[in-house]
């Protein structure tokens, strides 16, 4: 086992798959010679050449559109969109084309594109470098949506995504690229070497898309979350000294309803937490799904902790980010309510 941060794990995933399958190509802004603004593709062009690791013009719609065409011609493209906030110029290509080509051609044509994109705040990125638009993509039939919360899952899920014949939008919570983050920006940064999921095999393995993970078992409450907030949730439970079950959804679509529902049936209480805005968000789908399958087990209404329904404000990042205080308050609310 090697120690890797999330950037190294993501790079290793692409390296392993590119080595295994000559049809895997990487394209995106600054991904080639420079190795990506977050260094996720560092060294790949030197190793695999300019025809397989391609610096693209600044046109996200073009990157995704061209990747679709490459996929239609037998390649397995991994497109990087430099920030999730930049994905919208490619939205039509994702929603109207990538997601629907298999369906509209009854399986004759498909394009196995993986779109990697860093998301989330906490890096002083302001509203154009901090968004979490995953709920926009989970709403689209025909694509899978994934967000890992640690290096081990990042590598395994990315390999599974690249090898999947279905298109995958792969969100990378950039606040935790270099280490887990408990939601308190005042504390010194913690590296992944301090975390068991920073241990990553150097070779090939996959983490199947469609499976949630129980991060810690507990009996008092189920905290259903993903991405950066997995770490905030575990920190909040520890701080409160409660026996919480924390579940990392990690595969947002397809969703592992069984793992989530089993937990909520066991604890009878559920808090859903994500960094994205609340209204019409992915958490609403989780709440509706769990309410349907767990209604008679619930001892309190399902609650949500989420980003405020505003753009991500640069100067008020830590008032916006659903950190420890909001997570603790959310847990208290669910625990204090009785049916």
């Amino acid at each position: 086992m090697a120690q890797m941060n999330m950037i190294e794990a993501i790079r290793s995933a692409m390296d392993v798959v590119m080595d295994k399958d000559p049809n895997v190509v990487v394209l995106g802004e600054d991904v080639g010679y420079f190795g990506g603004v977050f260094r996720c593709t560092d060294g790949l062009q030197r190793k695999y050449g300019e025809h397989r690791v391609i610096d693209a013009p600044i046109a996200e719609g073009g990157i995704i559109g061209a990747a679709i065409g490459m996929g239609l011609n037998g390649l397995r493209p991994v497109a990087e969109i430099q920030f999730a906030d930049y994905i919208y110029p490619g939205f039509d290509q994702i929603v109207s084309e990538l997601a629907k080509i298999r369906y509209r051609s009854c399986g004759e044509f498909f394009s196995p594109v993986t779109i990697r994109t860093p998301c989330g705040g906490g890096i002083r990125g302001g509203q154009t470098h901090s968004q979490s638009p995953e709920g926009i993509f989970t709403h689209v039939s025909g694509i899978k949506t994934v967000m890992p919360s640690n290096p081990y899952d990042a590598k395994g899920l990315l390999i599974a995504a690249i090898e999947s014949d279905d298109p995958v939008v792969f969100f990378e919570p950039k606040r935790i690229y270099n280490g887990p983050f408990d939601g308190d920006p005042e504390k010194p940064a913690v590296p992944w070497t301090s975390h068991p999921k920073g241990e990553v095999p150097e070779g090939y393995y996959t983490v199947p898309i469609g499976e949630a993970e129980v991060v810690q078992q507990g009996s008092e409450i189920s905290i259903v979350t993903y991405g950066t907030l997995v770490h905030v949730a575990t920190a909040a439970a520890e701080k409160m000294g409660i026996d919480a079950e924390v579940i990392d959804v990690r595969s947002l679509s397809p969703l592992d309803v069984t793992t989530l529902a089993d937990s909520v049936k066991k604890t009878g209480r559920c808090l859903i937490a994500h960094e994205a805005t609340r209204f019409g968000g992915y958490g609403a789908e989780l709440a509706a799904t769990l309410q349907k399958s767990c209604f008679y087990h619930l001892e309190a209404p399902i609650a949500r902790v989420a980003g405020w329904d505003t753009p991500y404000p640069h100067a008020f990042e830590w008032q916006y980010f659903p950190g420890l205080k909001r997570m603790v308050a959310g847990i208290e609310r669910v625990l204090e309510t009785t049916a």
Binding site: A66, M70, N73, G74, E108, F109
Partner: protein, 419 residues
Amino acid sequence: MANPSRLHIPRPTARPGDEPDFSYLDLSPAGSIDRPSVGARTRDLEFLSAGLVRVLDDDHEAKGPWNPDLDPEKLQIALRWMMLNRVFDQRMWQIQRQGRISFYMEAFGEEAVSIAQGMALRSGDMCFPSYRNQGLYLYRGMNLVDMMCQCLSNTRDMCKGRQLPIMYHFKSGNVFSISGNLATQYPHAVGWAMASAIKGEDHIAASWLGDGSTAEADFHHALTFAAVYQAPVILNVVNNQWAISTFQGTAGGERRPFAARGLGLGIPGIRVDGNDLLAVYAVTVWAADRARRGGGPTLIEHVTYRAGAHSTSDDPSKYRPKDEHLAWPLGDPIDRLKEHLIKEGHWSEKKHAKLEEELKAEVMAAWKEAQQYGTMTEGPWLDPSTMFDDVYADPPQRLESQRRRMLEIHQQNGNGDHS
């Protein structure tokens, strides 16, 4: 009161009630445009985007350096395909008017584009068509019954009832699936061509869109990527003058031709008489040859005219002069090739009429067969539970639950009850 704004509002030269006026069109005499070598430098090719490559002149003679000197037999075959395209469209239009299919789009007046380019490309070249390129599917060998069954959404529909009529797909013929979202196929063609080059193959890609769709971002994305990587691709703008009710000036065609759109990126553009099958064939062979030799993309503007309505949902008499197409200075592609062949002694009015009858009979026979697989009003019916297939290669469990639920509800109510 005069509007004090200096904003220019593009207006067509004629609206309903006006005399058709095509004086805005820049025409070059047939045979007057040079044919440069396919290896010529892009900077030396700019004249091709300003002039109009024409081979057939007004007297139906083939002239000049672009004359592809095709055998009469090959021209007769081309004529047959264009006529089949038109006869098929006419039949399907009538069928829509009878309420037996929901929608249709015809290629009336633009048949030369698909047929000439289908002939000029190799079978391994990949086509990314627009919705008026049914001629490509026909030429590449798609069965008439299959096309009709698609339009009927019946039990033999290749799209299993998922797509509007005319949105065919044909993997074995290397013709992509048609999207209802405009211009999206353009970057696909460029990506496909890039992959061909990455894999070291010599197949090229080609795509088509209309003058109106050149305003879409995907058009510009595609041109940029094609130029940057010198992708082996032919990008076609079928300038049929009308995008539903807006004329080509609304898409920005008033000052410079669409063929010149790529010049700033170093993409050679060729403006061709789109109703001249010989000219379209010749410029396509030139562009394909250039692409296959590593010369990169070519943008071809086909100057043509949408002689019919945009679709069966459209009524062009509301926004352009009735019979404007009769005044179109570049004539009709079928008539022009027919007259050329007659002039050369390889065709006759009698043969033409006979062929037209044969094609009508062929289409009629196909229609009879197609209806046996179901129509909108009569079975057999497609199994609606197939709507849950092909959303994913690896479908999530929720789709299976939804399929079961849909079947429970609709089996209770019986087939055909959509309440």
